[in-house]
């Protein structure tokens, strides 16, 4: 566990020293902040609607699809390209510790992007709004979970190649596949259980539950399962160097 912590600290350091470390937060804060402000304007101060847009509107998804590949493409592809993976994996650490460290580091950085959220809330309350904090918390939990899932997919893609650009492209495709699992599943009409599972596979559907302020155990478990699967595959892909 201490190794994981060491790796998380290392990964955060790498973020804050790379161009990604300042360009992504600035992009995100400017665009998300602007959108939040405009939403407040357009809805004439409907705080709930503006917050729902901020954490689940079209802009949210666009930014997420842009940011996640940027945050994850480097993680393992660069270690592979520069050869530092050999240094890392010949130290007494387990493959899963490397995966966990990279994943948690990326996720913490993603959470860091949301630092302005409490500020927005404070500002809204200061200006006389009264957002339902419970609903906001549920929605934010959904945001963190979806972020974690997307980052895990990106990490897996980064483990498959030594080229960051290819990792980013694969990540974008991977995110689309994960996002539209039911639609993808319909391409395979003869696999019965997929049909039965149907919409349950859609985390958009689950995500909307979070947005409406309901935290149910099942979607949480579902998303955590997908995250676990992606991380498991990442660890296997690190190990795959051994099969060739």
């Amino acid at each position: 566990m201490r190794n994981v912590l060491t790796l998380v600290v290392r990964e955060m350091g790498a973020y804050f020293r790379s161009p990604i470390g300042y360009s992504v937060p600035i992009l995100f804060w400017v665009l998300a902040g602007l959108r939040f402000y405009l939403d407040l304007e357009w809805t004439q101060g409907d705080v709930e609607a503006a917050l729902a847009q901020l954490m689940g509107g079209v802009h949210f998804w666009l930014l997420t699809f842009l940011i996640v590949p940027a945050l994850t493409m480097r993680l393992l592809a660069e270690e592979r390209r520069s050869g530092t993976l050999e240094m890392l994996l010949t130290a007494p650490v387990e493959d899963w510790e490397v995966v966990a460290g990279k994943f948690l580091g990326a996720w913490l950085f993603y959470a860091f992007l949301w630092v302005p959220l409490p500020l927005y809330l404070a500002a809204v309350i200061f200006l006389g709004g009264s957002p339902d904090l419970g609903a906001v918390a549920a929605n934010f939990l959904g945001v963190l979970l979806v972020g974690a899932l997307f980052l895990a997919v990106g990490l897996f893609c980064s483990s498959l190649t030594s080229n960051q650009i290819i990792a980013a492209l694969m990540c974008a495709v991977g995110l689309l596949v994960v996002s539209f699992l039911p639609e993808v599943a319909r391409l395979f009409p003869r696999i019965l259980w997929i049909q039965i599972a149907g919409d349950q596979l859609s985390f958009f559907h689950h995500f909307d539950e979070f947005r409406s302020g309901v935290v149910d155990g099942r979607p949480v478990v579902y998303i955590l399962t997908l995250i676990g699967l992606a991380l498991f595959l990442t660890a296997r892909s690190l190990e795959a160097r051994k099969w060739r």
Binding site: T6, A14, S82, G83, E86, M87, L89, T90, P92, V93
Partner: protein
């Protein structure tokens, strides 16, 4: 401390290692000697658990590198061939990260880092970005990293490549020092380096071990094949060559490879022979007797190619396993 038992490794069609077995004991420095593509790096990667063997097994510090990988890795320090380092960290910070990941106890960490920084001559570079260091300093950071957890087994892949002559001497001395109480396996292309720092030389070619011997033993085997380089003045070149060829054991006297570089009265000659005794004394005596002047007399180093020819009696061929 290091034991390889019948290691095989293939990469698709390329057979990188064939039936490689050897052992290195504690307090011993062993050197892998072989040309490009011989399989040195591959073998070291198996020993460090980075790659699995296709067949056979390896034991480091009593731990099987496949089954008890973590324990084996905890006992070894590894300097990879190209010394890959993350570009964004500073030397001290990088060593601190490596010390943490290698589980150096909190209370010893500072002291260990200070020790290896001093030992590898990195004091003035502590605050530099690792990614901007020159090749030689990167090499030293790699060495410091390998040593930081004070492991009993050290594996260095071409530790002196890219170092300036002073540094090369210093690193060789460091390795000799380390070898006193630890187990060291290193690789090199240079026979004289292997002879200078190791107690045992393992010559590997096309993924196979050709010879395993002490420097002295290897010397004996290739001794007869080391030509003697002389530079003589005071007689015509053909006369010198004829006189030298008369000495017992001499097979052939040829113009030295660099003979063109000095004209005039000096003749550069290479005396090829096949005797166990050192001919240099006899050559000197001959020169004195004939009244020649002599300004050079030494045994030339053999290239790896020549060594292979010497020990296998055949042309070992050029290039690696994939050639």
């Amino acid at each position: 401390m290091i034991e390889a038992i019948s290691l095989h490794k293939r990469f698709g069609p390329v057979q990188a290692l064939r039936d490689v077995s050897f052992g290195v004991a504690q307090g011993e420095v062993a050197a892998f000697l072989g040309p490009n593509g011989a399989g040195k790096t591959t073998c070291m990667r198996i020993l460090t658990g980075f790659l699995p063997a296709s067949a056979g097994r390896a034991v480091v510090a009593g731990f099987d590198v496949a089954a008890q990988s973590r324990a084996a890795r905890a006992a070894l320090g590894y300097l990879p061939e190209s010394v890959p380092l993350p570009g964004d960290m500073r030397v001290r910070e990088y060593l601190d990260f490596r010390a943490r990941i290698k589980r150096v106890a909190v209370r010893q960490r500072r002291r260990r880092i200070a020790t290896v920084v001093e030992r590898c001559g990195l004091e003035t570079m502590k605050a530099r970005l690792v990614g901007r260091l020159s090749k030689g300093y990167r090499q030293r950071v790699g060495l410091a990293d390998a040593l930081v957890a004070d492991p009993p087994v050290l594996i260095f892949d071409e530790p002196t490549v890219g170092l300036d002559p002073n540094q090369t001497v210093e690193v060789r001395r460091l390795i000799a020092e380390l070898g006193a109480e630890r187990t060291v396996l290193l690789s090199t292309h240079i026979l004289s380096e292997a002879e200078a720092i190791s107690g045992r030389i393992i010559i590997i070619h096309h993924g196979r071990i050709l010879i395993e011997d002490t420097p002295a033993g290897l010397q004996r085997r290739v001794h007869a094949h080391r030509p003697i380089r002389v530079e003589i003045a005071g007689a015509a070149a053909p006369a010198c060559r004829a006189a030298l060829a008369e000495l017992t054991g001499v097979r052939r006297v040829a113009a030295a490879d660099d003979a063109g570089s000095h004209g005039g009265e000096w003749h550069g000659l290479a005396v090829h022979h096949d005797t166990e005794t050192d001919l240099r004394e006899a050559i000197f005596a001959l020169a004195r007797e004939r009244g020649w002047r002599l300004r050079e007399l030494h045994r030339e180093d053999l290239s790896l190619e020549q060594i292979f020819r010497a020990v296998t009696g055949a042309d070992a061929g050029k290039g690696g396993a994939d050639a």
